[in-house]
């Protein structure tokens, strides 16, 4: 029964067949100096295994209490007897046997009634009489109370202690959580259970009680997942964060990543788009590379590329390993941190429970951007015309229905409004069954999630996901003390179906198109067909029509099978061998259909086309570990030794793709290549290619040592060989060392232990590797793409060949080195947990494709060519308490990170971002450069607007030369940083940093008699966003947001935005700080209230009936002018960020949910 607690809290079915807490302790937590096993908990005759040395009897008793469900009642008068020390090593003994041994050298006797053990003095009759007398008194003055103790999921808590305050009178709850106790009339009862907050309740007014205990997440005995094992939170020496299923599900997120944001420190999570099913960018402790900075995800021991495919309800816990010491056991790719996901599992000896969790909600746009209506637009366009000294536009000849607009009867087209979807539905349904016998346990779950997009009408984005999971574990062979052979498996299948509109860059971006198209163009023409480009700007097509035609008919389907099978062999006590085989298979299909269309001079297609792409890719992992645990020197020295290896092959796969034209059908359902009968040399595309498999071979070892749970030491060494590097550069070696001092265990701490219950200092140093580059950089590969040429026959593509990179045989592992110093503390009776970490992470030998001289004549290879530093701190504080039956918690966390590139190994010291990101014909706007934060915005600083000609003439350098001689009033004054007489690239400086200085989260939770409330908020501070929705260089007719009302239109009218012009002027085409805004925000990401009706409808079979109401994204506090300050677009380069070109915003969702457990 103890295991119920453990599994409820952590459920680490993957690592151990922990059917008993003692076994867990023995096998995984040898740090502790005692160990005990309770066997056959289902039988009446309980047997206990326990082992300790030189403990006082009082401590021994508390250990037996923890290890079993016996409750000891001890009166003060016998306490003095309990300070003798004793040692014990028994296996599968009854409580009576154990007590006989334990009390053999004392004057104490015992009495066992049910689960209650009473100790009393045996000498003489006096003690006995007192005891009898007490018993008599109790009988005389008692009233009988009854009650039921459950957790907040309404699952009964078995073996909770109920003790009348100030007495030794008490009992424990039975298998249904019920108890019966006789107490004094106005007594208070103290209800406690390990891992839960204790409660004190008055019994004066009633005799029946429904008691809900709240989990004490700050419990130090909680086990957390570390690489290849579990460790007591108390003994952890690295920097880790944990999130459990409760914290995830109470936000009702579509993706589990959403839930991580507010509850972890040191993680920056940004959606790449608010479109349903979009991926996330996740960075742990800052961007450490110009390459892929995604952390390593491990789901039930299998490395996967992302975790979006999971349904949040499948998750038991997520553990994040942030510092090098925690993650170094994973060596490869751990440079970016490790996210360990553990899925739910059943418990041994538990009747199957069925639970259903579902919610349904509607989503709406949180904020709409105010674009100009037709009248405002017409006025400003003419103002630009006049500024340029030109005649006003003859709108009547350029704009259809001009008289409607001129008279004010029509405001023109609100393009963005046209594609908004009101009340887009969102739903999720999860059904799961879990349970177990004494030798098997299982979880079976099925879930369905569906989310419609809030933008893209009439072809809005959608996302459907089906997940199926089966986890089970079987004990094949066991002896009295432990199971010798255990086999288990985790298997999940997911099916994801997506359709989406164009998001991302500026060229194909449905949202940007609607923001920038002039309100002059009607949606439909007089024939009720999509309007052709109007004379006002014949280049600009109807944005709704373009979206419908080019992104209205597409679907992608992803089948993913992920599983592992493992075997645990424990030939002798304390020695465990484990072997697992993991399998990750994806099959992806994309189909699309694009009809013929004709929307402008430049946007037409005189043929329809059908595309069909498919890939399958497989990854396999084999992992073998051996674990041995020993105690030395009176069991005070504890050693836990782990050795192992992993063999991994990824990217075993192939892609096949095809596009053909003029299908005989005109819809997506028939979008198959067979329906195009003719091969067209110019437009038929067919191809297939294999993926290059990556292989990784690793060996690792770890030693955990502790002395008295007071002095802690962890040493790790991992060696990784990667196929991505040349033979002599393949192996990387990654050591780490971590130490801890639990100062609160020291004797001198006793005096303040009441206030500071626990304090541990930690320090760690270590290295991790990163090999995330394309393979074969050590060879000069011959490319056949992009080198076509043509001879006499224009229809014959001659395929040329050329070496596409300069080989770099020396390319090898990138290493991230991290120093971490921190403390964990619990204060005020464990109500407040306060954690702090400071880190300095230096990525050395950065894998970068640094630009090389163009005269080398071919592509730059990856080199180990730079260093980057991320330095920061993380604080989290969690307060957990109750006021009578009101349980509440407050969590706050704050992370600070400062990123700086400290070396780039070429003469230029720069890695460039791309040009043409913010608008066409614009130069690069972000870069990585030595001495600056990675991906910083690069451009001109401005100093207001020239109000008149004399200000232009006054703008001179120190030599008195005019700097902007061609400027006119209303133009931007660009800051001349180098004191020459011209504004050019050399004047560009850092104008913003997209990396936040701070990320923070806040969570509030409370429950009271079945009611519950939670609030989650998160935010960032200190970052900037660069924004443009207009292609200002090529399309002066693009629409504006109403911010343009603040432009200059005469002396003194504005000192920020320049005057308008019909042509592209330097005012706009020079990328400057005018495009940069602060991106700070605080978002109430979820707020939820609920009630558990099982408190009202008392049925034995109904464990929980929870109805809740949640609002996601209720409000965002920000000064950022865009629709959503959480901008995940990267400008086409992995280290770029914070670029808003018309970003699909996250919706505000209102949902109602139901959770039923039988």
């Amino acid at each position: 029964m103890e295991d119920i607690y453990y599994f409820r809290l952590i459920a680490y079915k993957d690592y151990k067949q922990i059917e008993k807490i003692m076994k867990l302790t023995t096998l995984l937590l040898l740090i502790s100096i005692f160990s005990l096993t309770a066997e056959n908990v289902h039988s009446q005759q309980k047997e206990i295994s326990i082992k300790f040395r030189n403990e006082t009897i009082i401590n021994a008793i508390s250990k037996i209490e923890k290890a079993s469900d016996y409750v000891f009642l001890i009166t003060d008068e016998i306490k003095s007897e309990l300070n003798n020390t004793t040692s014990l090593d028994v296996s599968k003994k009854s409580i009576n046997n154990i007590l006989d041994i334990l009390l053999s050298d004392t004057n104490l006797k015992y009495n066992v009634v049910e689960r209650q053990v009473t100790l009393y003095k045996s000498q003489g009759s006096e003690g006995k009489e007192v005891s009898d007398k007490n018993l008599n008194e109790i009988v005389q003055q008692k009233k009988q109370i009854r009650g039921r103790v459950t957790d907040n999921q309404n699952v009964p808590i078995i073996g909770a202690n109920i003790i009348e305050e100030g007495t030794t009178n008490g009992t424990v709850t039975d298998i249904d959580g019920n108890f019966l106790l006789e107490v004094e009339n106005d007594a208070q009862i103290h209800i406690s259970y390990i891992g839960y907050h204790a409660q004190l309740i008055s019994t004066s007014d009633k005799t029946t009680f429904e008691i809900t205990l709240i989990e004490d997440t700050q419990s130090l005995d909680e086990l957390v997942v570390v690489g290849y094992g579990l460790q007591k939170k108390k003994l952890i020496t690295g920097a880790t964060s944990q999130i459990n299923s409760d914290q995830i599900t109470k936000q009702s997120p579509v993706s589990i990543v959403d839930a991580l944001r507010s509850s972890t420190t040191g993680m920056q999570i940004v959606k790449t788009s608010g479109e349903p099913g979009s991926a996330f960018r996740i960075n742990i402790r800052g961007l450490g590379t110009t390459g892929d900075a995604t952390p390593l995800f491990i789901v039930d021991g299998v490395p996967v590329s992302n975790i979006n495919y999971l349904n949040p309800s499948e998750i038991e816990s997520i553990d994040i390993l942030k510092d090098a010491a925690s993650s170094s056991i994973y060596g490869s790719r751990a440079a970016n941190g490790v996210v360990l996901v553990t899925t739910k599992t059943g418990n041994y000896n538990t009747k199957p429970t069925i639970s259903y969790n579902g919610h349904y909600g509607v989503q709406n746009l949180y904020k709409k951007l105010p674009t100009l209506n037709a009248q405002e637009y017409a006025i400003l366009m003419n103002e630009a015309r006049l500024n340029d000294g030109l005649e006003p536009y003859d709108y009547a000849s350029l704009v259809p229905n001009w008289d409607e607009i001129e008279s004010g009867r029509s405001k023109g087209t609100d393009w963005f409004g046209e594609i908004m979807v009101k009340n887009a539905p969102l739903q999720n349904h999860t059904l799961s069954i879990n349970g177990g016998t004494n030798s098997s346990r299982f979880t079976m779950g099925f879930s369905y999630t569906s989310q419609d997009g809030i933008l893209g009408k009439p072809v809005a984005s959608e996302y459907d996901r089906y997940n199926f999971r089966l986890n089970s574990e079987h004990i094949i062979l066991e002896n009295k003390d432990y199971s010798i052979l255990t086999i288990g498996e985790n298997l999940s299948y997911s099916y994801i179906n997506r359709a989406g509109i164009a998001t991302g860059g500026m060229y194909t971006n449905s949202i940007r198109n609607t923001l920038s198209t002039s309100p002059f163009m009607p949606v439909y023409d007089e024939n009720n067909e999509y309007q052709f480009a109007i004379p006002w700007d014949i280049r600009v097509p109807n944005p709704v029509a373009i979206m419908v035609y080019t992104h209205g008919n597409n679907t992608s389907i992803d089948h993913k099978i992920l599983g592992n099978i493992y075997i645990n062999l424990q030939p002798i006590k304390d020695l465990t061998l484990r072997s697992s085989f993991g399998y990750d298979f994806s099959n992806y299909t994309y189909r699309s259909y694009t009809p013929k269309y004709n929307l402008s001079e430049r946007h037409f297609r005189d043929y329809s086309s059908t595309s069909h792409n498919m890939y399958k890719v497989l990854g396999m992992t084999n992992e073998n570990t051996i674990n041995y645990q020993i105690q030395l020197g009176d069991l005070r020295h504890s050693l836990d030794i782990l050795g192992g290896n992993t063999i991994q092959i990824n990217n075993i796969g192939e892609t096949i793709y095809g596009t053909n034209i003029n299908s005989i059908f005109n819809d997506l359902d028939h979008a198959y290549l067979d329906n195009s009968k003719v091969i067209d040399p110019a437009r038929t595309v067919l191809g297939s290619y294999p993926w290059n498999d990556n292989r990784l071979l690793s060996f690792f070892g770890r030693v955990n040592y502790d002395f008295d749970e007071k002095y802690l030491l962890t040493l790790v060494l991992r060696a990784d060989g990667s196929s991505k590097f040349a033979k002599n550069k393949r192996w990387g070696y990654f050591p780490s060392i971590a130490t801890g001092w639990v100062i609160s265990e020291e004797s001198f701490w006793e005096e303040i232990k009441n206030n500071i219950n626990f304090l541990k200092f930690r320090a760690s140093w270590g290295q991790n590797g990163n090999q995330n580059i394309s393979p074969f950089q050590y060879l000069s590969t011959i490319s056949l793409s992009g080198a076509d040429y043509y001879g006499i026959n224009k229809n014959e593509r001659l395929v040329g060949a050329y070496p596409n990179i300069l080989p770099n045989p020396d390319v090898t592992w990138e290493t991230s080195e991290q120093l971490n110093i921190g403390f964990d503390s619990n204060l005020f009776n464990n109500r407040l947990a306060l954690n702090f970490d400071w880190y300095n992470k230096i990525t050395r030998d950065w894998l970068v494709a640094a630009p090389t001289l163009a005269s080398f004549g071919t592509g730059a290879p990856y080199i180990n060519g730079g260093d980057v530093q991320n330095k920061g701190f993380e604080i989290s504080a969690n307060w957990n308490n109750n006021i009578n039956e009101l349980n509440y918690s407050v969590g706050l966390n704050l992370s600070h990170n400062k990123n700086k590139v400290t070396r780039i190994d070429n003469y230029e010291k720069i890695i460039h971002g791309l040009p043409n990101v913010l608008a066409d014909l614009t130069s690069e706007i972000f870069r990585a450069e030595e001495g600056f934060p990675i991906g910083y915005f690069w451009g001109y600083k401005t100093d207001g607007i020239f109000q008149n000609k004399s200000e232009v003439n006054a703008y001179v350098n120190t030599k008195g030369e005019l700097i902007q001689s061609d400027a006119t009033p209303g133009d931007v004054r660009f800051i001349n940083t180098n004191d020459d007489n011209v504004i050019d690239d050399k004047d560009k400086v850092m104008i913003g940093d997209p990396n936040p200085d701070f990320t923070f989260g806040l969570s509030l939770g409370a429950d009271y008699k079945g009611f519950d409330f939670s609030l989650v908020a998160s935010g960032v501070a200190g970052n900037q966003i660069i924004q443009s929705y207009r292609d200002f260089a090529i399309f002066p007719t693009h629409n504006f947001t109403t911010d343009i009302f603040g432009r200059w239109y005469g002396e003194g009218t504005s000192n920020r935005l320049p005057k308008l012009s019909t042509a592209s002027s330097k005012n706009f085409s020079n990328i400057s700080d005018l495009y940069v805004e602060d991106g700070d925000y605080l978002r109430i990401s979820s707020i939820s209230v609920g009630y558990d009706f099982s408190k009202l409808i008392k049925k034995a079979y109904l464990k929980r009936l929870h109805l809740y109401f949640t609002i996601q994204n209720l409000v965002t506090f920000t000064k950022y002018s865009g629709m959503d300050p959480e901008i995940g677009y990267n400008g086409g380069v992995s280290f770029g960020s914070g670029i808003d070109l018309g970003f699909y915003p996250s919706p505000r969702t209102v949902l109602v949910g139901l959770n039923v457990t039988f």
């Binding site: 001079e601 229809n795 001289l853 163009a854 071919t858 690239d985």
Partner: protein, 530 residues
Amino acid sequence: MRKYIVLLIGLFLIESCADFLDTEPFTSKVNTNFYQSPQDVNQALIGIYSVLNPGTSHMHSFFISELLSDDRFAGGGGVDAAIHAISEFKNFSNDMYLYPWQQNYRGIFRANMLLESIEQVTSWESETQKNRYIGEAHFMRAYYFFDLARLFGTVPLVLETTPQNLPKATPEELFGQIAADLLIAIEKMPDTPYSSNDIGRATKWAAQGMLARVFLYYTGVYGKTEIQLPENGTLTKTEVINNVDYCIANSGHELVDDFRNLWPYSYASNYDYAVENNLTWIGEEGGNKENMFSIRFGSFGGNSRNTIVLFFGVRMQNTNPFGYGWGAGPINPQLWNSWEDSDLRKKASICDVKNEDIGYVSSSDQYHESYLWQKKYMPVNIFVDGKLQNMYTYLYGTPANNMDCNAQEIVLLRFADVYLMGAELGSAKAQEYLDIVRKRVNLPSVPATIDNIKNERRFELAFEGVRYYDLMRWGELESAFNRVKNIPLENEGKPVEYSIIYRPETKGFLPIPESQIQLSDGILEQNEGW
């Protein structure tokens, strides 16, 4: 699959890791196993030629050379500041000319790699085949270096694939190498008359023509009389003349009968000028014996299209017969005015849209509008089923959109040029050569004086990418641009008086991309005047 499982199990059992981490690329070869057959070498040569194709960029040296010349302005729209900067000798951004720099060095690297690896090939069909391929690689390396030299002055002389951070070579070293490469090409490539099989490939004849061009350029710009070859010896004028004479006599190249039939508009039966003059396009399938070396394009749109023609097209409109484009390169009226009406090449080369009714409407944002457009490299529309359509779409099925439809080849060396160079070099047949060129366009013989030859080059080769360098080697850039003053044009519909300010301190060379100077840690020095 079984392979992988065996690998996994095998590893688990024996932990043998030596081979496990060896992988091989399945879709690309590597340099050590690629150059093995003549087919491989041919593919590598295609890779070298493909660099000529501008892909989607307009910053091709041909385009730049035209905009730099005094005969044309930048044009385009108000948004095309980068293009305006070319013709106004301004620096639009630090790396404005990175593209031609990069492309030429790509070609050089590929040629170097081929020359370094060609001995790996053992299965030659014949020695002739091997020599031809070697000759082509040398020709192309010379071509790319010469392109760099004309644009940037001197540049690093990279002759190995091993990365080296080199300073600029001296002009002697650079041109010595170019000449040496061309001489090898002339020697190695077959001495057989031109045939249509050679389309898109370098020939001995193209190498001889290029040798004359290189010699004239080097001796003119740097004031020399001969080229010092890298390994002793010199290339004298006599030797160059011998090559030209030999080429003219033996190459099998000849002038097309009617000058106008060289240009695609001659195909347009909807174009009055073509109909009235009874023109028949010579095409691109071998009939054009005047074409000695050209950039070839494909019918697939995308990177196979000719974007240079797109840029030169009529700004944002389709006329009959000239097609849609960005309106770059309007013609300097001074050229029109100085051109004798009696020269049929005048109207064959320039469309006077105010007098030729092609349905032209000046785009409201057109810059440098002179109402004179060149006709040689221009999208051409024909009527197909009553609708205007690009002729290449009709003929070759190029995508029917304005961006992708053009596939006209760009001739980099024309036989008429070789005649004129022969005349300019002072061949014994100088007068004959000049007369042949004039006779084709019904012009009477004039003495083969340098001034007459200069004029002839301007009119014969207008808009073909040679004018700017001719001025440079004649030392006439400054005087030519001094004439380009206060030309009445229209910008965005507004009349302007337009002047080009040439800066003699640059000697007419372009700035080296700033990033390259930084990446070289200052070993590479910026050109004077930039």
